[in-house]
């Protein structure tokens, strides 16, 4: 079998335009991302605040703190510490992300203050298959995560759940369903203990003078 020859001018001579365009377009896209990423982050933050009362019932978005927490993997991540109107700590909203079937999925996980129960789950951003995987954005799927245990990994099953940590997969979108559960499990494994430690620090007796504690 003969090897293909690069033709006149060699590979660079043939592909110089493609290489040059790739560099120019890449630079242009970096500039666009740099210019717009702040606005996009602000949009996601506003959406996060709008769903906090649903993710952690009883929360007052105006009383939410944004704190950086060092996870088990030694990396810091943003966590929303939610409080009631009277200032008492009611839970956490943990942003998490991971690979789905088609693209990256971004989630918000609502947790109680002791990180024992998942209070809610919300899909912030996804690009799953239309009509199949994108059903992870539906309320009926997201509600499946409500009141699930946060101290054990969630498991996706294709039949009716037999245990309290099981989630029924979406029909025709098992990989998307498993991806969401895997993202939740990874985030909980990473932040469960650090958040519990923070909750203890803020427990009665350790509270800041300006805040009430549950």
């Amino acid at each position: 079998m003969t090897q293909p020859t690069p033709g006149k001018g060699g590979y660079i001579g043939q592909a110089w335009l493609v290489i040059l365009l790739a560099l120019l377009y890449g630079g242009g896209l970096a500039g666009v991302e740099n210019a717009l990423s702040g606005k996009i982050k602000a949009n996601k933050r506003a959406e996060t605040y709008s769903v906090i009362p649903d993710l952690v019932p009883g929360s007052d978005p105006d009383k939410t703190d944004e704190i950086m927490v060092r996870g088990e993997n030694a990396k810091e991540g943003l966590v929303y510490r939610t409080r009631r109107t009277d200032g008492s700590h009611v839970g956490w909203v943990l942003p998490a992300a991971g690979q789905g079937f088609a693209d990256r999925i971004e989630l918000l996980i609502g947790l109680d203050s002791g990180v024992t129960t998942v209070r809610g789950m919300y899909v912030l951003n996804q690009r799953e298959t239309p009509g199949l995987g994108d059903y992870i954005t539906r309320a009926d799927f997201q509600d499946l995560f409500r009141d699930k245990p946060a101290d054990r990994p969630l498991a996706v099953v294709k039949t009716d759940p037999a245990a309290d940590n099981e989630i029924r997969a979406l029909s025709g979108a098992t990989i998307s369903s498993e991806s969401v559960a895997a993202i939740v499990n990874r985030a909980l494994a990473n932040f469960r203990e650090p958040l519990r430690a923070l909750a203890v620090e803020r427990s009665p007796g350790n509270a800041r003078p300006d805040e009430a504690v549950e």
Partner: protein
């Protein structure tokens, strides 16, 4: 003229005005060429997403036509599709990020359909048929005409589906309160039904116009003979 190994660019073809007019009606992307069926069926349940999709596609189509036309003398035949795809993907990414920044809710509603503009055959076909062979003015005219034609197609289908399915147009109530919304029109079957019916109307109108023209020609020949 082109250098050795690059695309031979004859610089011949329809004028800018012809390209523009052809794109709007005679070669309408949806009703005459059946291109871009994915967004046509997926985002036409209401006018707002349809118009947003039409605007995003117009941006990508016009910009890619401009770039390809400017680069046409440098294109090598076996690498031209790569250059088209690279160019289109760049402008689609810009459109996607822009929508996420300034029309966030609509960006979420359109979901993966904005990135999917990359595989819209309309855009790569205009690069191949027009922009890679003709000058900048013609390429821009072609892009604008085809964009208007595509927008017209999306808007007509979205109008039928939103009015019948939700009783609204651009979110404003246009049907009487007693109107029983035809829910199926807002669902995927409604997209296929509406597209099929409007395609039939477009075909009927074209044939009627053609038969009228034929009849006029026959009468004209008859009058000349006598």
């Amino acid at each position: 003229m082109s250098t050795e190994g690059t695309t031979n660019v004859p610089e011949e073809g329809p004028t800018a005005l012809e390209r523009f007019i052809n794109g709007v009606l005679p070669e309408n992307p949806i009703y005459r060429q059946l291109l871009g069926m994915c967004p046509t069926l997926a985002v036409t349940n209401a006018m707002k997403p349809a118009v947003t999709m039409a605007a995003a596609t117009a941006f990508v189509l016009i910009c890619s036509n401009i770039m390809v036309s400017l680069l046409r003398r440098l294109l090598k035949p076996h690498l031209r599709i790569l250059v088209f795809t690279l160019t289109i993907a760049t402008f689609v990414t810009i459109a996607d990020r822009f929508l996420a920044a300034y029309v966030y809710e609509m960006s979420k509603q359109l979901g993966p359909y904005v990135p999917l503009i990359i595989v819209n055959c309309l855009i790569i076909s205009r690069a191949e048929i027009c922009a890679s062979k003709q000058g900048l003015g013609v390429a821009i005219s072609d892009g604008v005409g085809m964009s208007l034609g595509f927008g017209l197609g999306l808007a007509t289908i979205a109008t039928v589906r939103e009015v019948l399915g939700s009783g609204t147009w651009f979110g404003l109530h246009v049907m009487p309160a007693s109107w029983p919304n035809w829910g199926i029109m807002a669902l995927p079957p409604g997209a296929f039904i509406t597209l099929g019916l409007l395609l039939a109307v477009a075909e009927w109108a074209t044939e009627k116009r053609a038969s009228t023209a034929l009849w006029r020609t026959v009468r004209m020949l008859w009058s000349w003979r006598h």
